[in-house]
Structures are given as C-alpha cells and as structure tokens.
C-alpha cells in the first residue's frame, strides 16, 4: 500500500503536497518524494518518514506538484527507488500506487529502444512509456501509455511546460478534490478534507486532465461526466474506517497478518536454508522481548536449540558469551538499543538476523539477514499485530527446526485467532475496570504471554498490572493479594494445567477475584474462577496466539470502559529511537 497526492492551483504546491502526504502516512512511511513543475521538473525524494524528515521550505517551487509516500513490498526503500520517477530526459515525472504486473516485459522492450532505467521499481516503466508516446500533449501520451499496463494503478503524471496533472486509475483508489481555483487529488479523502468538501471519484479505467479551474475525465477515449460528491468525514474517521480506535482495527487484522506472514516465509524459502545454530541469543525491547521469550520456550520444547533472550537496553552492560547467532527483533527497525546490540554482536563475529516490520529500516541494513513480518503499517502505540507477526516468524523458525512438523498447524492457526475475536469479555471488563492493581499469571510458554498481557494493560488502561510466573507469586507478591487485586490466570490444557489449577485455588483462598482463561468446555476451571474466558482447544503454539489476542482484547475493552486515550497513551511513543 502506498499513498499519492497531487496539487494544482494558485498556491505553492510543495508544502501542500507534503501536508497531504503526512495525512496518508498510515498507508506507508518508509520513503517519500515530491516533484513540482516550474518551467522544469524538480524532484526531491528521500527514504524515511515524511513527518520526521520533511522538506526545507523553498527547495521546490511551482504551483503544480505530485507526491508519494511509500510502503515498500518489493525493492528496498532507498532514495533511488522512492517515487516520483522520471523519464530519460527528466521532463516527465510519475507517482504510482499499485502493482504493474507486466513490468518486466515492458522494461525489456523499453531498454531495447534505448531507455535508461535508474531504479528497480515497476513505476519507472510508466515514466518511460509516457516519454515514448509524448509528442507535446501529455494527455494523449498517458492515454497511449496506460493501454500497455496490466495490473493495478493509480497514477499522477506531470511534464515540463505542461500546465496540467494527468491522472489515471485502475483497481487502485484515486479521488479528486475541487477547491477554489485549485484541484487536489489523493489516494483517499484524508488529504483533501482541509481544503475542500467537494470530491470527484474516478472510476476504473478513467483518465483525467486537471487544471486549476477544471477537470476533464475521459473513459475509453471519450469525454465522460463524473458527478461531484460532498465529503462529510473527519480526518480520523477516514483512516480508521469505522473502527473506534486504530488498536481495535489492528487487533482485527491479526488473523490475516498471521496467515500472510506464515505464507510469505514459506514463499521466501530462505528460512530452511538459513543454518540455525544450536546457540541463539535474541535481543529485543518491550513487546518484541515478550515475543522472543515465547520463542525461547517453543524452541526448547520442540528442538534442541538453546535460546537466550536479553533486553537490548541491558545488552550493552551485560553481554552473555556470544558464539553463534544473534537475532534482533524490532517492529520499526529503528529502536536505538536494539541497533546498538546488533553492532555489538557483529563486533564479536556473530551472524546477525533481524526481524522487523519495515523494509529497508536501519536494522535490516546492518544485520546479515532480515526476515520481514507482513503486518503492514501499525499506527496504534500499543503493539498488537506486529507482535502476532513476530510470533509468526518465530513459529515459522521453530517449524523449520522441527523439520516442518507444524506446517499444517500453523496454516490453520488464523482460524482460531478469528474465533477468539468474537469474545465478549463484558464480565471480565466489569471486574477489572474498578481495579487499581492486578496480576497476570501463567506457567511455561504462557508466562511470557502473561507478561505481554500485563504490558498491554499497563500501556493503555494505566492499571498497574504485573505479569508473573505462577510459581513465583508465592515468593513475595502473595502478600499483595486481596479482594481488590484481580488475577488473570491462564489455565489452558497441557503440562502446566494441574499445577495452575492448584495455584488458582490458593489465590482464591486469599480472596482475590480470578479471571480464568481455559479451553472451551473446561468445566473444572469454570467452576473455580469468577469469570471464565474460553479459547478454542488447539495446539500449544496456537493457544499462545489465541490467549495473547484475548489479553489484547481484554486490555482494549478495559481501557475503553475507562475512557482512556487508547491510540496515544500518555508518555509513550511508537518507536524509541533514543537510548
């Protein structure tokens, strides 16, 4: 997914396009670029987030501008792969959202004709195709060029000495906004909202020529009318698409994210080739640290690998003996502590593997190997889908270590995740909403799951929640138990089941209200806890996923009941880029 913006009118285009791109950042943020027309085409492009880099005022002049913010899926996000792309002469600039499926064929033909390509992207093909057809009229050239394109596209094209933007779309969104003596266009309505309430939606196969005062739309070469619609959206609505918060939206994306990540790993095929040594050190912070802890338990359970997990922030002061491989886990790929840890590992001659959600991020450039999680841009500060995607990668690795024993189980895990999304949790939320402090307890692999559940609760509901290994509770924290400290206990079937039950009974005896998470139809757990939350009975790995998702939902619903600012919790930032 990428975002595109265009402006034509009486104001300076560059600042308006930049502003629009910032609004589209939720569609992707690993590189950006803009181009303006002012007697000649000037292009500025850069890898990184637009809201952090921005553009020095006055660098690009002109009243016609197009821009692009990228979420790379193929080709790393460096400066040359960023849009806009230009033709050989630099007189035509193109931004594009979508995928050109036949670009390899087109590229070969164009190179035969003498065109020189500067990037690895499919988009550059469009620029050269337009050049091929360009004989003074940009509209005619674009009309000729798009006939060759297969796949999906929404494109904006500008050319030197042409007072127009030409837009075309097929299977990718594009909307035009009509202002007062100015026209804007973008991937969705969010960048338009500040400037106009009047929008024109283009249909598949439409080509439009935009000037400050008018829009001409053509379909199959014939002029057509497209009606003007009023927009009644607020900026936030448009991006969240009906969900109350980004966090809920992202929680609901998890079945798909898990499936896509597992499938991408399989397709990629590098994982089996990667010789996974017997000694692995994982460094991570926050939620990623918990994902790594889960990996530690699973790797030990299903293979003979020795995994140790370290906080990236402590890694610089305490570095365990490193021998073989260091895995760095970070959603953003920019977490400062994790980056330092990778450098330190490299200095000690360890092979390094990064697990990150952002293609081309700093960590992917410094590590020897990189595995990408297919979570898509995550907006909510509290990590949800990136956690599930990291687990998908780790479980994929465990599967490789166990010679593909779990392929079938992992291929169906998204179904169970889907099922727990239906949980109502009303009774549990009512029990927690009044609490000031609480505990999460689990054993075995569910201990890190409990830690993660507690972290989510802390982050967004501001309830002091503490995750504990169930056996450790008796060594101190038991003193804190009272009818005012609810406990969430994970009592799923397996080796830890019997001892968890007796732990729960002990906690009940101290008067603490207990929310029990157990397998569907487990009447024994149901009878001893105050509130029972069922998860589908499944393989241990799948249960770590489903319980994690239930705990995310529990934190979300509790925070919602307490009316907290869920997407932007106080004092927190999405990625921590200082040590």
């Amino acid at each position: 997914m990428c975002g595109i913006v265009g402006y034509i009118g009486w104001r300076e285009a560059a600042p308006l396009v930049i502003e629009g791109l910032k609004r589209l950042e939720y569609r992707g943020y690993d590189s950006f670029g803009i181009a303006t027309e002012n007697g000649e085409i000037s292009v500025f492009k850069k890898s990184g987030r637009i809201s952090e880099n921005g553009l020095a005022p006055g660098t690009l002049a002109g009243h016609i501008g197009i821009g692009h913010t990228r979420w790379a899926t193929h080709g790393v996000p460096n400066d040359s792969n960023a849009h806009p792309h230009t033709d050989c002469t630099g007189a035509i600039a193109v931004v594009h959202n979508g995928i050109i499926e036949n670009y390899a064929v087109l590229k070969r033909k164009l190179i035969e004709k003498g065109h020189r390509f500067k990037s690895e992207t499919d988009t550059e093909v469009i620029a050269h195709l337009v050049e091929e057809y360009f004989q003074g009229d940009l509209l005619v050239a674009v009309t000729g060029a798009v006939r060759h394109l297969e796949g999906s596209y929404a494109i904006l094209v500008i050319a030197k000495d042409d007072p127009r933007i030409v837009a075309a779309r097929k299977s990718s969104p594009l909307v035009l906004g009509i202002g007062d003596g100015e026209v804007l266009c973008a991937s969705d309505v969010t960048p338009l909202l500040e400037h106009t309430q009047r929008a024109v939606y283009l249909e598949d196969g439409d080509i439009a020529a935009l000037t400050p005062s008018r829009i001409d739309v053509y379909h199959d070469g014939l002029p057509v009318e497209r009606s003007v619609t009023g927009i009644e959206w607020s900026v936030d609505d448009a991006k969240k698409g009906g969900f109350e918060h980004y966090m809920l939206k992202e929680i609901y994306e998890q079945p798909e994210v898990f499936y896509n990540t597992i499938k991408a790993l399989e397709k990629d095929g590098r994982l089996p080739m990667l010789r996974i040594p017997t000694e692995i050190t994982v460094v991570a912070c926050g939620t990623s640290y918990h994902a790594a802890l889960i990996f530690r338990y699973l790797a030990q359970e299903y293979s003979a690998k020795r995994v140790s997990v370290e906080f990236a922030s402590e890694f610089r002061y305490y570095t365990p003996p490193l021998r073989e491989m260091v895995i760095a886990v970070t959603q953003s790929g920019e977490t400062a502590d994790t980056l330092t840890a990778v450098e330190k590992a490299k200095a000690r001659n360890c092979s390094t593997l990064a697990i990150t959600n952002v293609l081309g991020s700093t960590v992917s450039r410094s590590a020897d190997w990189t595995v990408f999680t297919c979570a898509g841009p995550e907006i909510s500060v509290a990590a949800t889908k990136s956690f599930i995607a990291q687990l998908a990668v780790f479980m994929g690795m465990v599967n490789v270590m166990a010679d593909g024993k779990f392929t079938e189980i992992l291929a169906h895990a998204h179904l169970s995740i889907e099922r727990v999304l239906q949980e109502e949790l009303g009774a549990a939320v009512a029990l927690l909403a009044g609490a000031a402090e609480m505990f999460y307890v689990g054993r075995g692999v569910f201990y890190p799951v409990a830690l993660e559940g507690a972290l989510k609760m802390k982050e967004i509901s501001y309830i002091h929640a503490e995750g504990y290994a169930a056996g450790e509770l008796k060594h101190g924290p038991f003193a804190l138990l009272s009818p005012k400290t609810p406990v969430v206990a994970i009592c799923t079937p397996g080796r830890t089941y019997a001892v968890m039950l007796s732990n729960v009974k002990e906690m009940k005896a101290r008067g603490a209200p207990v929310i029990g998470i157990g397998a569907e139809g487990d009447t024994e757990v149901e009878s001893i806890v105050d509130v029972f939350v069922p998860v589908p009975e499944d393989h241990l790995m799948v249960q770590t996923l489903t319980v994690s998702v239930v705990l995310q939902l529990l934190a979300y619903r509790t925070a919602n009941a307490l009316k907290r600012d869920i997407d932007k919790p106080r004092n927190l930032a999405k990625s921590v880029t200082v040590e």
Partner: protein, 383 residues
C-alpha cells in the same frame, strides 16, 4: 443522493451460518451479499453510502475497510428493529436517500430505475409471498404493506428497497420499516411501486444454494492459479491467486474457486459451486451445486452436493451428502425443504459419514460412519 444500507441484523433464520458473521456478510459466489449492493450503488454513481452495522459489527467494518469505496459507518448498539436502525443514521441524512437492506441481492439496473423516483419502492413478484411484506397496489401506487400475511392478497412483495425523502424520518416511531411506510402512506404521501429487474433473497440457509447458483451466472473467467496437467475446465470458471488444481481434475463452470486453495488431483467440481479461500479438496472428491466457505477441508473420495459448508469445517474422507426433502422447524416455523446438508463452522467429521438432508450446528464433532439427519445443535458430539 445518499444511500443507507441496513446491515445490523443477524438473520436468525440462517443459523447456524450466522454464528460468526451477520447475514449481510454471507458469501455468495465468494463475495458477501453486502458487496453486491455497494457495487451496484457505486456503478450508479452513488458515493455517499451509509452502512448501519450492529450484530458482529467488527466483521462488517473490517470487510468494508478493505473495499476501495469509502463508506460511512453507523453503529446500532442493540438490534431493536429496522426502523430503529434507520433512526441511528438519521442525523447523517440530508435529503433524498435510498434505503436498502444489506442482505438481499439487487442488480445495478433496478437501482437506476428507483433512483429516478421520489417516494418509491422496488417490487418483486414472488411465488411464496407469505415470507415477505406483501403490497396491495392500485394504479401503480402502493396502498398498504402487509407484513408476512398468512393469506397473501397477491404475489407482489416489497424488496425493502425504497427511495425516500428526509421527511420519512418523522415516521420512525414504529419498530419496523413497513409499519413506518404504512404510516407515511396513511398520512397522504403516495408511494410508487417500481418493479425490480433482478432481486434475490436468502431467508433460509438452503436458499444460499439457489442465490449462489444465480449469481455465479455473472462470473468472469479468471485463471490466476496453477493448473495441473490434463485438467478439463469448461464454462465460466474463476480461479484465485495461489490456488492449485491438481492433474486430471475436471471443473465445469460456472464455478468460483478462491485464493490459496488446493484442489485434487482427480477431483470433479460441477456447476453452481463456490469454493472459498484456503480450502483443500483432497483427491477423488466430487463437489457440485454447493457453497463451501473459507478454510474448509474436504477429504478424499467424498461426494458433496447441494451443501453449504461453514468456515473451518473438516469433512472426513468418503463423506456423502444425500439430498431429499424433509420438514424443519426454524424459529417456530415448519418448512419443508430439499437439500443435501447445511454444515456450520468448525465442524469435524470422521470418515464414512452420510449427511442426509441435515442442518449441523457449529463446532459439532461426528464420529466415523454416522448417518446424520435432522437438526444437530451447536457443540454436539455424535458418537
């Protein structure tokens, strides 16, 4: 012009299929019914689409998010009838608007017809009108809507699709839309009857089979998957990305097969069949005139015809569905219906089962060699 789509209701009579998603999200030819409505509106140039959601709202919202058509979402917290649902959206309605149920199929041409009228209803002649709001019509105008009458005065029924003015919102004190419409007519606003071009409803689970077969007629030929050697494909067949059709299989359209499926080798898929994403059909199996949801696994040597199979269900090897007619009691109504099987979500059946005209609930487990008939409640174990 605005359009309000009511997609808050569960569709209780479609149980067990509506356990996880509302009726508007029932897949027909691999796309939710709601999709067809939104597309039909889009093709008519209606851009301001308001969808009222309620039952399992996150499922609907998530799906609408994935479309590139922007829609405004309104939540009806409790399902207190269709008039109340419309009331939830009242503050967003500025003028004339179309009102549509989110769970019936309607074609583009019919929308074009009713868009031109003010205060009108799309009508349809139905052979069994008693399940619908029957209209008494004189001189092209509706006199009265009689909701689900035992003795219907005629065969013309309301499709539930209206073109209305904002003033209609004053009549929403009733619980259901038809009552509000009657109140409006009684107050002197005439309601024109406009016949629809193509309208389809699914009231009971087995109606999905008919609806699916009808909408499959519009399937576009598409071959994105990997197709093995000596595969015979005839008629309109759409095969999604990442799907594999094993060698020596036969697929006779109209058929839709979703993404990342694995069919065969040596399977037969007969006309009128939709197979959802990530479904696996093991070798030597025959499927015909059926709706298979997503993530289903159908064992080898099975014969599945006239069946609806829910998400995540596993049908064991050598299973047979056997179509015959019997009487079912649905929401206190006795209905005689003929179909093979309706199987809910996450059902698991061991090999050698026979499904004889049955409705199997969600999460049911069936041991090997059982003959299943009648209605099986959710979570049952057949041993």
């Amino acid at each position: 012009m605005q359009a309000v789509i009511l997609a808050a209701g569960e569709g209780r009579r479609l149980r067990p299929l509506t356990h996880a998603v509302p009726k508007a999200m029932m897949p027909v030819a691999n796309r939710p019914i709601l999709d067809y409505i939104v597309r039909a509106l889009e093709k008519n140039g209606i851009r301001e689409i308001i969808v009222v959601v309620g039952y399992k709202k996150e499922q609907v919202i998530r799906h609408l998010n994935a479309l590139d058509i922007p829609v405004k979402i309104v939540v009806q917290e409790r399902q207190l009838g269709t008039a109340h649902a419309l009331k939830c959206a009242a503050s967003l309605i500025t003028g004339e608007f179309l009102l549509l149920p989110g769970d019936n199929y309607i074609d583009t041409a019919s929308i074009a017809r009713i868009m031109r009228e003010k205060n009108a209803v799309l009508t349809w002649d139905h052979p069994y009108p008693s399940n619908f709001g029957v209209l008494t019509i004189r001189d092209g105008y509706v006199r009265q809507v009689i909701e689900k009458p035992e003795d219907a005065p005629g065969f013309t029924v309301s499709t539930g699709i209206f073109s209305l003015e904002a003033s209609f919102l004053n009549y929403l004190d009733e619980t259901e839309i038809p009552n509000a419409v009657n109140a409006m007519i009684a107050a002197g606003t005439p309601l024109k009857a406009v016949p629809a071009e193509n309208w389809q409803d699914a009231i009971f689970p087995w109606d999905l089979l008919r609806l699916n077969a009808a909408l499959l007629q519009g399937v576009r030929q598409e071959r994105a998957g990997r197709i093995g050697a000596s595969v015979v494909i005839r008629g309109p067949v759409s095969i999604g990305r990442g799907t594999t059709i094993g060698p020596n299989s036969t697929v006779l359209g109209p058929v839709v097969i979703g993404e990342d499926c694995e069919i065969g080798p040596n399977c037969v898929v007969l006309p009128g069949t939709s197979i959802g994403d990530r479904t696996r059909v093991e070798p030597f199996t025959l499927i015909g005139h059926s709706v298979i949801f997503e993530d289903v696994c159908i064992g080898s040597h099975a014969r599945v015809t006239d069946a609806v199979v829910g998400t995540g269900t596993h049908v064991g090897d050598h299973a047979t569905t056997f179509a015959r007619a019997s009487v079912f009691s649905i929401e206190d109504e006795l209905i005689r219906a003929k179909f093979g099987a309706i199987i809910g979500d996450n059902v698991c059946s061991a090999p050698f089962c026979i499904f004889k005209n049955c409705i199997v609930g969600n999460d049911v487990r069936i041991d090997e060699g059982k003959t299943v008939s009648g209605e099986i409640p959710d979570g049952a174990r057949i041993i």
